[in-house]
Amino acid sequence: MRRTIAKASFHTALNLAVFALIGTAILAFTFAQTHERIAQSEEAEKLKLISQIVPQTLFDNDIIKDTLEIKPDPLLGNEDTTTAYRARLGGEPSVIVLEAIAPDGYSGKIGLLIAIKNSGELAGVRVLTHKETPGLGDYIEIARSPWIKGFDGKSPGNDADWKVKKDGGQFDYMAGATITPRAVVKAVHKALQYYAAHHDALFARPIKELKP
């Protein structure tokens, strides 16, 4: 009995191991072949998104590489460390791209990508993630409506303006769904305040290079 168990165990183990090794080898090979390309794709994608809100004319550096780690901050609403991207024109800081989270959406957190010009003026905002009601609260997505473009060019200005029109502010909303825009407006406003508070640190060198 003992011997057969040992033998069977050995046999099965060997079998499985051989296949596992072959499989792993193939996988490792594929990974090695593609991972560079994957990283590139991911970067390209990110760049595509960033370039939607950061005008081509405002930078000449490799934004993706010019990054900064941002620690959790109540003004940004982030709970984990996020990455900020910095656009420079002729070496001078021009735009910073921050990630922020609006915690009080209708059905949860709304993730935002916010580009702020050196002047403190907004370059653009995009929604990264959200769980708002499809068809009602999702007009904040660029794919659904241009609403989010309403932030373009806005500057911190008067606090009272940073509300939806219904509450006496300057931002549009869709009737029947004000919770969502309220949350986004509030979050963008706070991000601007964060920027104002940390402007210098944000553009400080050295540039943290992405490891290959």
């Binding site: 079998n15 296949f19 499989g23 792993t24 594929t30 990974f31 794709s41």
Partner: protein, 228 residues
């Protein structure tokens, strides 16, 4: 493998034993990824490739593997194939990869893959197994395409939206707006819509089968009367 055999396997996979509307296997991707034609077809094709390759890979080694390790080994092979495809998609079709999300690795556990391997590849030679896998995958793709089409039209009023993700920017012009200024029947693109639409498809297949049977019966009876 002759032509007839080839045709039989194909017919079996695409229509008679269709995974989506007959065998009801591999349904998670069918339901989750069929909110548009492009998504559906892309995952369907990826699955077809995996099925064909795994059929071909497993058929020759089926005798070597001891019984108790059979499932782990088969799964291992499938997993390797899937991961390879996943990386290729990740590298070369990034946006599509993002949309299909978790469902690419889940091809591994897509029941239809293992089910076909157990039911077919474990008993047949590699060539046939590959064809069978691919035919099954095609059947799946067909269901995904129809389902995706219906849901997309009802939900958004468009067809082929997102084709640029698969074929590149230039393909954007292929998107068809079926109903302009459409309100959007959101139910269709949400999970309930997926279930209900698939239910309708199954019923349609049942109906077609019934009709075909009735016609066949009518034919045989005319033949008989003629003979008489």
């Amino acid at each position: 493998m002759n032509y007839q055999e080839f045709k039989d396997i194909l017919y079996n996979g695409v229509w008679k034993q269709n995974t989506g509307v007959v065998q009801l296997l591999g349904m998670c991707p069918i339901l989750a990824v069929s909110s548009s034609v492009v998504n559906g077809v892309s995952l369907g094709l990826a699955t077809s490739v995996v099925m064909a390759l795994s059929g071909a890979a497993i058929a020759p080694i089926r005798t070597v593997v001891p019984n108790e390790a059979r499932i782990p080994v088969f799964i291992l092979i499938i997993a390797v194939l899937v991961t390879v495809i996943q990386y290729l998609m990740n590298a070369y079709m990034y946006s599509l990869y993002v949309v299909l999300g978790i469902f690419i690795p889940l091809i591994v556990t897509n029941c239809i893959v293992l089910a076909r391997i157990e039911a077919f590849a474990a008993k047949n030679p590699p060539m046939q197994s590959a064809v069978d896998g691919f035919a099954m995958g095609l059947g799946l793709t067909a269901v995904l395409a129809v389902l995706g089409g219906i849901r997309e039209i009802f939900g958004h009023g468009t067809l082929l939206s997102g084709i640029d993700m698969a074929l590149g920017e230039s393909a954007k012009s292929l998107v068809i707006t079926v109903v302009p200024d459409y309100h959007g029947f959101l139910l269709a693109i949400l999970p309930p819509g997926a279930f209900i639409t698939l239910g309708m498809l199954i019923a349609t297949k049942n109906w077609l089968n019934l009709r075909a049977e009735a016609r066949a019966r009518a034919e045989t009876s005319t033949v008989q009367t003629q003979a008489a």
